[in-house]
Symmetry: C2
DNA sequence: ATTTGTTGCTTGCACATACAAATATTGTTG
DNA sequence: CAACAATATTTGTATGTGCAAGCAACAAAT
């Protein structure tokens, strides 16, 4: 996300303050945060040729070989259709393979997939380091907990 | 970043507990929250035929006729290209119109656009009410502030 | 055992967003 | 002034995600 451009006429009170009426809106703020932090994630995970959802999904598959899409959907807070898409692409990249068993689908890592696991952990760490230093390591922990708790509350609604 | 692995396998102590190792990851949690809350937003704003980004953009245009894409980009934390796309669609719906002035583009609301303004405010309120009641009205305010602050910190990086 | 419903996964389609490159205007400097 | 750099916007293209509908396998009930 870019867009500096300062000047702006009637800036009130504090300089550098980019608060606006949307800052009080969680719908707005949560999306802004997600976009900003995903940019970091994509940068770091991109170095291993994945974006963060793929990386996390691959983690799950490596750590729980034979995991099903529905389990992944629950763990990753993504819809089943999204999981299908992610798995498809990981399969194309030869990082996982699917096995049909009845109406279930079991997902297993390939060797290449397993080999990527440490790199994912590293990238994961780098992402954490970057946003921690930007946001402030003290706040980050509590913020994360609260954000997750809120996400879960909303998700449990339906 | 701490990766606390929580129990695995079958449901742990508390029922409804969906914590996992990603709950400690802000990249993950922020996206989960954004998706969950956007679902609410789309539902409410959908009733007036917009999704939330369009609605907020239209607000800005109604409240600051002649606003430029770059200003909108700054206010809405979206890239200029995204603003162009949003404005295009609002123009198709006859809710705004564009005027070229040199290298700038000035965006004005149409009457239909202005007429929608109160409905947007209402939908906005309903969204707030819904997530407040889900998350807990006490937490929501502080959470929103922190989330916005974090988003701004990350955005100010580059 | 056939029907009916339920569960698990996949597909078709749509949408929000971004990046990189293209275009057009404005500013600057030799 | 001409050439070049900077700024503002748009366009081509790609990606992540979801909804609704489809399909396949299983379960339940008559």
């Amino acid at each position: 996300m870019r867009s500096e451009m300062i000047n702006e006429t009637e800036t009130p009170a504090v300089a550098g303050q980019k608060d606006n009426r949307y800052s009080a809106c969680l719908l707005f703020s949560a999306n802004a945060l997600a976009r900003a932090i995903t940019a970091i994630g994509d940068e770091e995970f991109g170095r291993i040729g994945l974006s963060y959802s793929y990386a996390y999904l691959l983690c799950e598959v490596v750590d729980q070989p034979g995991v099903t899409p529905s389990k992944l959907s629950e763990t990753l807070f993504l819809t089943p259709s999204t999981i299908t898409r992610l798995v498809e692409k990981l399969e194309l990249k030869q990082l996982v393979r699917r096995e049909s068993e009845g109406k279930k689908t079991l997902i297993y890592p390939t060797e290449a997939g397993e080999a990527l696991r440490p790199a994912i952990a590293e990238a994961w760490g780098r992402v954490g380091a970057r946003y921690s230093s930007a946001i402030g390591p003290d706040d980050v922990c509590q913020l994360t907990q609260q954000v997750f708790k809120a996400a879960r509350s909303l998700d449990d609604l339906d």
